[in-house]
């Protein structure tokens, strides 16, 4: 499998270093100062309720959203000082799957490869393999606009993996993916981290994060309220229990919706 071949030996001590990262949109503070170190070869899960600032954080560490303050180093390279060099080392799967809708799946992969300066034969070969592995070979000539949500997610993942990045940032990679594809993707990512690459992903599926990740970070209201090895963060409980306890769950609304289940129709 050439497409997901493990990267070269590491030079920097961490795959990702974040210091004092901040971002506000008008009066709303989305990320309120984050410090984070993720070692090489780590499978890192970033979890948090909706609006916690996960997507904003991922946007800033991947060089797509300018932070108000703070420093981000990917593989030892400062993202906001030398964005081009940093971006060569990272692959991104964005949450809202903003893709070139009017390209076919195969054209989208080729476009991404050539954009990154890869030689055309390599792009062709890897695109072919990725389409096969992701189960998209039959839809290679179909426009992305006609893809289902799951297929869009897979083709976007293919585009993120194509240049074999050292650090992969995935925003909700398993959302709307069928169990068989999810298993394929999981296998692909596990093999990838075994070779020394790093995967940082955000998710709402706690069981998956618990099963896959060596380390987790829990975000709430723009702050990282817990971070470390998964075992330590969950401290004997399930990760979901730990998450609910740390984030603080609301009431179950038993009294308010008492009419549910009485079916008046």
């Amino acid at each position: 499998m050439t497409a997901a071949s493990p990267p070269q030996a590491d030079r920097s001590p961490t795959a990702l270093t974040v210091r004092g990262l901040r971002k506000a949109f008008g009066p709303k503070v989305a990320v309120a100062g984050i410090d984070l170190d993720i070692p090489h070869g780590c499978f890192f899960g970033l979890v948090g309720p909706n609006g916690a600032g996960k997507t904003t954080t991922l946007g800033m560490v991947t060089g797509l959203l300018r932070p108000d303050a703070g420093q981000v180093l990917v593989d030892g390279i400062e993202v906001w000082r030398d964005p081009a060099a940093a971006k060569r080392r990272i692959g991104v799967l964005p949450e809202d799957l903003r893709l070139f809708e009017r390209l076919t799946g195969a054209e989208l992969l080729t476009y991404n490869g050539l954009l990154r300066g890869m030689p055309p034969p390599t792009v062709e070969e890897r695109a072919h393999e990725l389409l096969d592995v992701l189960g998209l070979a039959d839809a290679a000539g179909t426009l992305v606009v006609d893809y289902s949500h799951g297929m869009r997610k897979k083709i976007a993942l293919g585009a993120a993996l194509l240049h074999a990045p050292r650090v992969l940032f995935l925003d909700e990679p398993f959302e709307a993916i069928d169990p068989v594809s999810a298993r394929t993707i999981r296998g692909l990512l596990e093999r990838y981290t075994e070779g020394g690459a790093t995967v940082v992903f955000s998710s709402h599926v706690m069981e998956l994060v618990e099963r896959l990740c060596d380390r987790v970070g829990i975000m709430r209201l723009g702050r990282l309220i817990a971070e470390g090895p998964t075992e330590r963060v969950r401290a004997g409980r399930s990760l979901e229990d730990a998450f609910v306890e740390l984030v603080g769950a609301g009431g179950t609304a038993r009294e308010e919706l008492g009419w549910l289940g009485t079916s008046s129709a």
């Binding site: 709303k28 797509l64 964005p83 903003r98 390209l103 954009l115 000539g141 179909t142 006609d146």
Partner: protein, 535 residues
């Protein structure tokens, strides 16, 4: 239930005005204002025709009724994506029987600007034809049956085709047809006016044959019922009316059957409906493009030109506009060989499509930003695609004009100068498109929608300034061409290399300025191209 659906339609109309941006509100008001003259015109035509033209009036009433019916069948098909109350699949989850749904949808279909205008126009028929007495009731009934034919026929056809209409291809085609409809109508009016000048009595006799056929179509029957009621032939009018009413019932039955099927049959997945994309760019153009970032961007741009409905409309519109301008110039003298040079209008106008060259990517520009590739290569790729498409169109036009005028010697001049003109235009576009970008939505019911950057006015202003700057920068080139054509012909030979060189120098300046800015502001460009979501 019917009341609920009518209220839903009224709420959709009201909310369409309240929620949309001012451009859309303006569109709705213009639509209403446009409907008013049509309604008034139809009313006057039907009211005055019988007295002004007693011989041919009935024939024309039939034509008007048939045209109205066809309009009702066709226009909702084109605006399917825009009117949410037209799509039966949206109501599929409600616990309704087709009968209940039908009466509700029928009444909702009678509410709106178009039904109101139709009724107003048809009322003219009652005024024009109906005598006092029992004929009046028949005339009113004929008009109501025609109205019911329009509403039920249009709803039935929409329901039958709703699945196909929801497909991406149908929506793309709809966007293209709606955009070009205005142009087609204006052309049809001009052709019609020319033909009317040559209209003679014997032509009307020939039209009678068409009239006889139209008279047996359902709307033609309603028209004949109206005419016969007006002339006191009450029995004939009643028979025709009954036949037309029977057709309404048949259409209603067809509607009911299709509604039942749409509500209870599973929809095939989108993939099964889509076809594989054609590989024209790959086969024809790709081998000639560089195998790097510039080539990839250029190939993507050319594919978008062929596949993005709104980009296609934009290029087609500028192409057709240039054709119209060339025809205007040609009206003075068809045989002047230098007419070939008017093809330069096309290269100038199609070049304007690059003023917002990142806008067509929209939020997908993210892929370019994430790749960390050189913004200069990105701009060069876009310019390369615009150059290929623009020069291709201009070459075809220049050759066609040369074939008509015999001015073949002007073809190379037109092509060389076109390179210079387009280079200057693209140089300016490279600066404007990175500084004042706005996202263009992929598919929308409103063709002129700009997604909420809140700077629509500023963007429009900047584009006008850009247009003026391009004009000023191109003045020396056009002056040289003018002097070459009208004063000293050898100057044209010098103009060719000078125009190319001048264009390339200015293009490099614009490209450098655009690329430099983009290198430091890629995240800001991406933010500008990403529509803001509600917090």
């Amino acid at each position: 239930m019917a009341g609920h659906l009518v209220r839903l339609k009224l709420a959709l109309l009201r909310n369409g005005l309240r929620r949309s941006q001012w451009q859309q509100q303006l569109g709705l008001v213009l639509g209403a204002l446009g409907g008013l003259p049509l309604a008034a015109g139809g009313f006057l035509l039907l009211a005055l025709l019988p007295r002004a033209e007693p011989r041919f009036g009935p024939l024309l009433v039939q034509v008007v009724f048939v045209a109205l019916f066809l309009g009702w069948l066709l226009f909702p098909l084109l605006s399917f994506g825009g009117d949410t109350s037209l799509d039966p699949a949206r109501l599929v989850l409600l616990p309704l029987r087709p009968g209940e749904l039908m009466s509700g949808l029928f009444l909702a279909g009678c509410v709106g600007i178009a039904p109101l205008c139709t009724l107003a126009a048809l009322a003219g028929g009652v005024v024009g034809f109906a005598p006092v007495g029992p004929g009046l009731a028949l005339a009113v009934a004929a008009v109501l049956v025609q109205f019911a034919l329009c509403v039920v026929g249009s709803r039935a056809l929409l329901t039958v085709l709703s699945r196909q209409l929801r497909s991406r291809r149908a929506r793309d085609l709809g966007i293209l047809l709606v955009s070009l409809a205005g142009l087609t109508v204006s052309l049809a009016v001009q052709v019609g006016a020319r033909m009317a000048e040559r209209f003679e009595r014997q032509d009307v006799e020939a039209l009678r044959a068409i009239g006889r056929v139209a008279g047996w179509l359902p709307p033609g029957l309603a028209a004949r019922a109206l005419v016969d009621a007006g002339r006191g032939r009450l029995l004939a009018a009643t028979g025709e009316l009954l036949l037309a009413a029977l057709v309404v019932l048949l259409l209603g039955w067809w509607w009911w059957r299709s509604l039942d099927r749409v509500l209870t049959t599973a929809e095939p997945p989108a993939m099964a409906r889509s076809r594989q994309a054609a590989g024209l760019v790959r086969r024809l153009v790709r081998p000639f493009l560089p195998a790097d970032q510039r080539g990839a961007v250029a190939a993507k741009e050319l594919r978008y030109l062929a596949r993005h409905p709104r980009l296609r409309v934009s290029w087609l519109t500028s192409g057709l506009l240039s054709l119209a301008l060339v025809v205007l110039v040609a009206l003075n003298d068809w045989n002047h060989p230098a007419l070939v040079l008017s093809a330069l209008v096309m290269v100038f106008l199609v070049g304007q499509n690059s003023l917002n060259q990142f806008g067509w990517d929209g939020p997908a520009y993210w892929a370019n930003a994430a790749a960390g590739a050189d913004p200069r290569g990105d701009l060069v790729g876009r310019n390369l695609a615009a150059m290929l498409a623009g020069l291709g169109g201009t070459a075809v036009l220049a050759v066609a004009l040369a074939a008509v005028t015999g001015g073949w010697r002007y073809v190379p001049v037109a092509l060389f100068v076109a390179v210079g003109v387009l280079a200057v235009v693209l140089g300016v576009c490279d600066v404007v498109s990175v500084r004042f970008p706005y996202p263009v939505p992929e598919v929308t019911s409103n063709l002129w929608a700009v997604e909420g950057t809140g700077q629509g006015c500023l963007v429009g202003l900047m584009q006008m300034v850009a247009f003026a700057v391009q004009g000023a920068l191109l003045l020396p080139v056009f002056t040289l061409v003018g002097v070459g054509v009208f004063v000293w012909r050898p100057l044209l030979a010098i103009t060719c290399p000078v125009a190319v060189l001048y264009g390339l120098v200015l293009w490099r300046v614009g490209l450098g300025m655009g690329a430099r800015w983009l290198r430091d502001h890629q995240p800001e460009l991406l933010t500008a191209l990403t529509p803001r979501r509600a917090a």
